[in-house]
């Protein structure tokens, strides 16, 4: 499923949100303030860069905690 990156390390992943599913619960914003902030209406604004390895566990927890399964980690 995941491809190793060119340097042979872990695949890089980015956060995305499905705006149709997202109900602006804000759980992800609380769990991962380093990468997710709120827009004026409470919907997540995501840092578009690859998730740094030290935050990957947090990112996975945020993904699992979204009540509507709207937050996604996408392989590069």
């Amino acid at each position: 499923m995941s491809n190793p990156t060119r340097d042979g390390g872990e695949p890089r992943q980015r956060l995305r949100f499905n705006p149709i599913m997202c109900k602006a619960h804000g759980v992800c914003i609380e769990l991962l303030p380093e990468l997710i902030t709120a827009d004026p209406w409470g919907y997540p604004v995501l840092d578009g860069r690859p998730v740094p390895p030290r935050l990957l566990a947090h990112a996975k927890r945020a993904v699992q905690s979204c009540p509507t399964l709207a937050l996604l980690l996408i392989d590069e």
């Binding site: 705006p19 827009d39 004026p40 209406w41 919907y43």
Partner: protein, 462 residues
């Protein structure tokens, strides 16, 4: 298609007076077809029996790109569909499907309607060829459900073909609501499945999994009509018109402050100003053109003579061809007021699914209205900040189109922005609207009539 001679010589020509470039496309062109099958065959010749690979190669060597707005290479999209089907292990359920997008959601566009009314068999030929290329046996032709003239024409054309069994592919006409967001490709997939015409989150993209999970090719009807001519006359014939990096011809809809609002088939590469001449010349001094449609951008009129109608030429001027819409915008009109109305229109035509679109577009429209009609001084800074929260944050590209147009208006009409913020709205803001903003379907009796009025205005009888 334009007349070979210059039909515009006698008409009022305040600006861009004469056609100086070879704008005529030798007949028979895209719009010279017939709804009568034998006449169509007599005009263009019979459809050659090409194998899938020959269709793909012809599209590729011609350099044909999509005419629905994004300009994506046709061969690549077809090969992606065929590859998804080959990869899938779902047997019959992976057989691809073709969707022809004939909805023409752009209110200022009339070219797809003109094409479907005048040359429906060219579009149906293109559908048959596309189906051949990707291995589809079923195709759907999507048109606006309230456009009964177009629906009737294509139904009749399909019936004529079925009577003589001219196609291997079954073509089903699907009526789609006349909502701007409803003719986005994933919304069409949902409509074809019998669901609501609402965009979906991607991935999966339709070429991977579309109608009923099958790989789905979606092309604009004009794109398919070009394919029908390329497969008859060959890629070199196509490349004889246009420029090396923008080969062929394209349909454009020219409206606004011109003597004869009209649809034309033009070779790519002619200057934007030439389109004004083709439409009879400007009726008033112009300040700008709206290029592309409501996802488009404003082009200052002064740039029109040296901006070629090619993707590269238009990009250099900060615009893009989009759906081939060109609206001549007079000096006496207010670009901020017109853009505010279009922003409100796009907000109303959102599918209402995504928070940043549902909240952001009305907020942007309100701010632009406050600037245009009340001279709100805080609006420019607010708009600059808020577009960042809207762009790229919907499931489809409607929000991106809206912010693109708004940002372009704030740039091209920067002087007006300052004047409105300093001394209140200009008198031009109260002028009658120039750009059509038909009501969304179901918003009352006005919807259907406003829409047919808008599309009828764009097309001249020949």
């Amino acid at each position: 298609m334009s007349q070979p001679s210059d039909p515009t010589a006698q008409l009022p020509t305040a600006q861009f007076p004469t056609a100086q470039f070879p704008t005529a496309v030798p007949p028979p062109g895209l719009l010279d077809g017939s709804a009568h099958l034998p006449t169509h065959v007599a005009t263009f010749g019979a459809l050659p029996a090409l194998a899938a690979e020959q269709v793909l190669a012809a599209a590729g060597r011609a350099g044909l790109t999509g005419r629905g707005g994004a300009g994506f290479p046709v061969e690549r999209k077809m090969r992606a569909v065929a590859a998804s089907a080959a990869k899938s292990r779902r047997g019959a359920r992976s057989e691809p499907v073709v969707i022809a997008n004939g909805c023409e959601g752009e209110p200022a566009s009339g070219k797809d309607g003109a094409l479907l009314r005048r040359s429906p068999h060219l579009v149906l030929d293109g559908i048959a060829l596309a189906a051949r290329a990707v291995g589809a046996r079923t195709a759907y032709l999507c048109v606006h459900e309230d456009d009964s003239a177009v629906r009737q024409t294509v139904q009749d054309a399909i019936a004529q073909r079925e009577a003589v069994r001219s196609d291997e592919v079954d073509v089903v006409v699907v009526g789609v609501p006349a909502r701007y967001s409803a003719s986005e490709e994933t919304a069409l997939v949902s409509a074809v499945e019998g669901g609501p015409a609402l965009p979906r989150f991607t991935p999966p993209r339709p070429f991977e999994r579309g109608v009923g999970g099958r790989p789905t090719l979606i092309n604009n009807v004009e794109t398919l009509a070009h394919l029908a001519l390329i497969c008859r006359r060959g890629p070199d014939w196509f490349r004889a018109a246009g420029t090396p990096d923008a080969p062929g011809t394209t349909l454009v809809t020219v409206s606004g402050a011109v003597a004869a609002p009209s649809v034309h088939e033009i070779p790519l590469g002619i200057p934007v100003s030439e389109l004004i001449a083709l439409a009879g010349g400007a009726t008033e001094p112009l300040q700008a053109l709206l290029v592309g449609g409501y996802f488009g951008t404003w082009l200052p009129a002064a740039d029109a003579p040296h901006t070629p109608v090619t993707p590269r030429g238009l990009a250099a001027a900060g615009t893009s061809l989009g759906a081939g819409v060109f609206v001549a915008f007079p000096q006496a009109a207010c670009g901020l007021a017109e853009t505010a109305r279009v922003a409100r229109y796009l907000a109303r035509h959102s599918a209402g699914q995504c928070g940043p679109c549902v909240n952001g577009l009305p907020a942007l429209a309100s701010a632009l209205e406050a600037l245009a009609f009340k001279g709100d001084q805080r609006a420019p800074a607010y708009l600059n900040r808020m577009t960042g929260f809207v762009t790229g944050r919907g499931a489809c590209r409607l929000p991106d189109g809206a912010t693109r147009l708004i940002t372009s208006a704030l740039t091209v009409f920067a002087q007006d922005v300052r004047a409105h913020a300093r001394s209140g709205p200009c008198p031009a803001a109260r002028r009658a609207p120039l750009l059509p903003t038909p009501a969304e379907p179901g918003a009352g009796l006005g919807a259907a009539s406003a829409l047919s009025g808008a599309s009828a205005r764009g097309v001249v009888a020949r």
